[in-house]
Subunit: 337 residues, 2 copies
DNA sequence: CTGAAAGCGCTTACAG
DNA sequence: CTGAAAGCGCTTACAG
């Protein structure tokens, strides 16, 4: 069973040409269905290619064509649901466009982000989809779509969800339930979503004149449930604890919910909760979470489409900014039902 | 700000050579730190490369070297936690070895799996990490590590967790709590983990003489919570419903738990539950789930290491099969605490 | 220590 | 309709 001796060299177009008794150039054109090649020749070449098991070498094609089919995706952490589902969506539309995806992880480290950028550039990717962690400020010279965390003025497009409005919707819903002491637990305002969502909260409570009773707590940079739980505990320890809380993301909601449970507070009776980014199985949680529907897969598809568009249109003008609309999925944690 | 006119051609080694006043071959060697090049020349070349912003073209390198740095990973669905975290682990060790990862999704479709295989092969990846959905039976000619779903006799290595033993541990734990009517909800036995885990359950109840009161229900091929919930409902509708249930995976546990909740059965009092594959935030669920710790990231790292090993050792002999040990994370759903 | 030449596997003007 | 030649950007024997 073991493979003996030397590597069984790959079949090349020269092999195919020889087998079909034509020149390599003719074989190449035949395989490309060029109209300039006779049907009989095409058939002969195709057969030769088939029986030899010819697989074109994309490396060679890319070099010759000075353009490959690779697209780079740089994310802070593929292990995180949001990013992996974004990749899934992007991969899907890119694949259908005959492109492949090089996924690079940065672990939210600036150095790794820079290295990732260098690497994909060396691979001569046609374009890039990136969610920066704020690491690299260099302008990239190839078509780039920034998502989640935006990079003002750079790239061909930016995509994010309607962060401010989203939080506004969440606050409004809570107010509809009669809450006036509404707290917010969010990711740090260093990156786009953390900052815009916090902004949205501040804006909403301002508009509703609720500032005085609207405490804000922040989770850590990874938006970890642990740090969110600690934040929730701080809120519960307040002299006048909030009766409802808005969380800026699924993992934060999870942490907050578990903190409430440990503290013996019933949800939604003692404290209601609504969240941005529906937890992946949000309807299975106890209570089922009222949240803004996830837009990760859709965002991936959109970002990929925008990139594809820029790729064949040629990049011109300032980046377009696209905001994905959000929609409230009403379940039980808010007090409904 | 818009980029004007023609593409700004990439800087090549010829440009660097010219700037440093040496031949391209010398520039190439200098950049590779060849001992045959004088220090002064090296310095000159490095400086030229730096000021010109030279980035080697990996496409060209790969073609010339007849070996690239790409590794393919083929998974049923990157959007699923298990796979995305596997990718994260694999990516990490591969990246440290100077390799990049091409991720392909199959959506559990045989046709897409075959296409994915063709694609990565055309990219001349050095090796492959694949979780088949049973789609392709063809032997792949490059070093391949199969994971999760195994392919007997093929590839350089197989990695999976200790499925049978794992379920045995789960059953034993439930028996330790005094249960005798123990049900099982699992994925279909078509692929490795579904089949081995079911096997493990059957083996355990046989060994314990519990067969008569050990109903088995199956979820769908995607192991969806919805189908698991339906399975749980069937179990609860039994004349003598089980007092405990073993689920073969995290998503199945989630579905089963929600079905119990909807049916008004308290957990673990009315029905206890233990699961394979700890849900990602299993400790935050209500009740916190007793489960076998996840080994996805570790599995990714292991699979990548095995591949790397095969890559520099050269493939010989039959595939090694590695089983990741499992460990029980005791929490509340089983009745502990 | 450095350079000229060949070649990795393709594709596309350029001829015929 | 088909072929011979050049070249994408590198690296590595082979000379010197």
């Amino acid at each position: 069973m073991a493979v003996e001796g030397s590597e069984p060299r790959h079949v090349t177009i020269v092999d195919v040409a020889r087998a079909a008794n034509v020149a390599p150039s003719t074989a190449s054109r035949a395989l490309q269905e060029s109209p300039r090649i006779s049907d009989s020749t095409k058939r002969r070449v195709r057969e030769a290619a088939h029986t030899l098991g010819y697989r074109p070498n994309r490396i060679a094609q890319s070099l010759r064509l000075r353009a490959g089919t690779l697209v780079g995706i740089i994310v802070p952490d593929v292990g995180v649901n949001f990013y992996s589902r974004f990749v899934k969506g992007a991969q899907d539309v890119l694949e259908h466009a005959g492109r492949q995806v090089l996924v690079l992880n940065t672990e939210r480290q600036a150095a790794r982000e820079k290295a990732a950028l260098r690497t994909v550039l060396e691979h001569r990717v046609s374009g890039l989809l990136v969610a920066t962690s704020g690491g690299s400020d260099e302008e990239v010279r190839i078509p780039t779509v920034y998502f989640d965390n935006l990079a003002p003025g750079r790239g061909v497009a930016h995509v994010a969800c309607a962060n401010r409005e989203g939080v506004g919707i969440l606050v409004d819903h809570l107010v509809g339930h009669g809450h006036t002491r509404i707290a917010y637990i969010g990711g740090p305002p260093t990156l786009t979503s953390g900052s815009e969502r916090l902004d949205g909260f501040l804006g909403a409570v301002g508009r509703l004149r609720l500032q005085a009773s609207a405490p804000v707590e922040l989770a850590d940079a990874a938006w970890s449930p642990g740090s969110a739980a600690a934040a929730m505990e701080r809120l519960l320890a307040l002299p006048e604890p909030p009766t409802a809380v808005v969380t800026s993301g699924d993992t934060i909601a999870l942490g907050a919910m578990s903190a409430c449970r440990r503290a013996g507070r019933r949800m939604p009776d003692d404290v209601a909760l609504v969240s941005f980014d529906d937890p992946v199985y949000g309807e299975l949680l106890d209570p089922p979470v009222t949240a803004l529907g996830r837009s990760d897969v859709a965002m991936g598809k959109l970002a990929a489409s925008l990139l594809l568009h820029a790729l064949d249109a040629g990049t011109l003008g300032p980046p377009t900014e696209v905001r994905l609309p959000v929609e409230l999925v009403v379940r039980r944690s808010c007090g409904c039902g």
